[in-house]
Symmetry: C2
Subunit: 189 residues, 2 copies
């Protein structure tokens, strides 16, 4: 941010009176412009057949991480709820019809100012197809997941938490909310 | 937003190619400026003595809702995690020393573009005091809570979920994650 979105005058970095952090403050009208983390919200769309559980992944048609696999997810928009966002992104990126369940994972990625949320979901049919931001969409069992080609650490963690809970459920457990913080920038290969 | 924060030229509202929503787009450099929901994060600081459970509330010294009671909470900052934000706000607003536990509630407030998160917490001592944004801080049992003077619906809901779980726990239950959407603007009296 270089200029004030309200009056077009230059902004400067300073700590406003009563604050403890540097903010972008307008040198003319004095407006303080705050910057806050954004939420990325998605789903874990599940299809179960003959006792085998598969999840729907999308191969990214956009940067960053073009060509890598992800759960359907994206930036939450104003005027929607987190559930709305999870449903919308699943529809947009995977053309998938789902029943949305509970919040399953919350992952902080503080170095990119993001919080990622994933909801469990059940696919209602197999009529999914790649949206404009996906090259292809495909169902994967745990053994089939291309672990080395997953787009983001928050996706790998969520998938691992999910399949661990599936094992736990077979032994009388249940789905739990999983919280995890990604504290270091990922290294691109 | 009236002017581009990158080049100071006027912005206009239009739907960018490949998008489905109106965005603020710069008429000169073409930068698309997205606006996304913000997260408000706080804690439910608990003190238990002789089997009685009390929670710490702060009376707001700032607008909106000056003079009304709230759980310690505030806007999450860049470069911190949701847990960091809950601890920081509890320290800033209530001067309270806590051990932070699991995420307890997630509440969408789409008409103000906010998502509120509250973590359960245990007070480590009784050396709390009002910060600059609080008039006073005080422990309340469920019966003592000033329900008609609570600042925001997300606070009332979180407190009701909390004391309902306390009753459930006495009957063998456990704390659960509570999700709720506040779909209508609150009416000021």
């Amino acid at each position: 941010m270089k200029f004030c979105p309200e009056c077009a005058a230059p902004v400067m970095l300073k700590i406003p009176e009563g604050d403890t952090r540097e903010r972008h403050v307008c040198t003319s009208c004095g407006t303080i412009h705050y910057h806050n983390p954004k939420m990325v919200v998605g789903s874990i769309p599940v299809w179960e057949t003959n006792g085998e559980i598969k999840v729907l992944l999308c191969r990214r048609a956009i940067e960053p991480r073009y060509g890598y696999w992800t759960l359907p997810a994206g930036f939450m928009e104003n005027n929607e709820t987190t559930s709305d966002a999870a449903r919308r992104e699943t529809e947009e990126e995977a053309g998938a019809h789902i029943a949305l369940h509970e919040l399953f994972s919350i992952l902080n990625v503080p170095h990119v100012h993001q919080v990622h949320l994933f909801y469990r979901a059940t696919l209602l049919d197999l009529d999914f197809q790649a949206g404009t931001e996906s090259l292809e969409v495909q169902l994967f069992s745990e053994q089939e997941i291309p672990w080395d080609e997953i787009a983001f650490p928050t996706i790998s963690h969520t998938l691992k938490f999910f399949f661990a809970d599936i094992v736990a459920i077979r032994h009388g457990g249940q789905f739990n909310l999983h919280a995890h913080d990604i504290m270091h920038p990922m290294r691109h290969g």
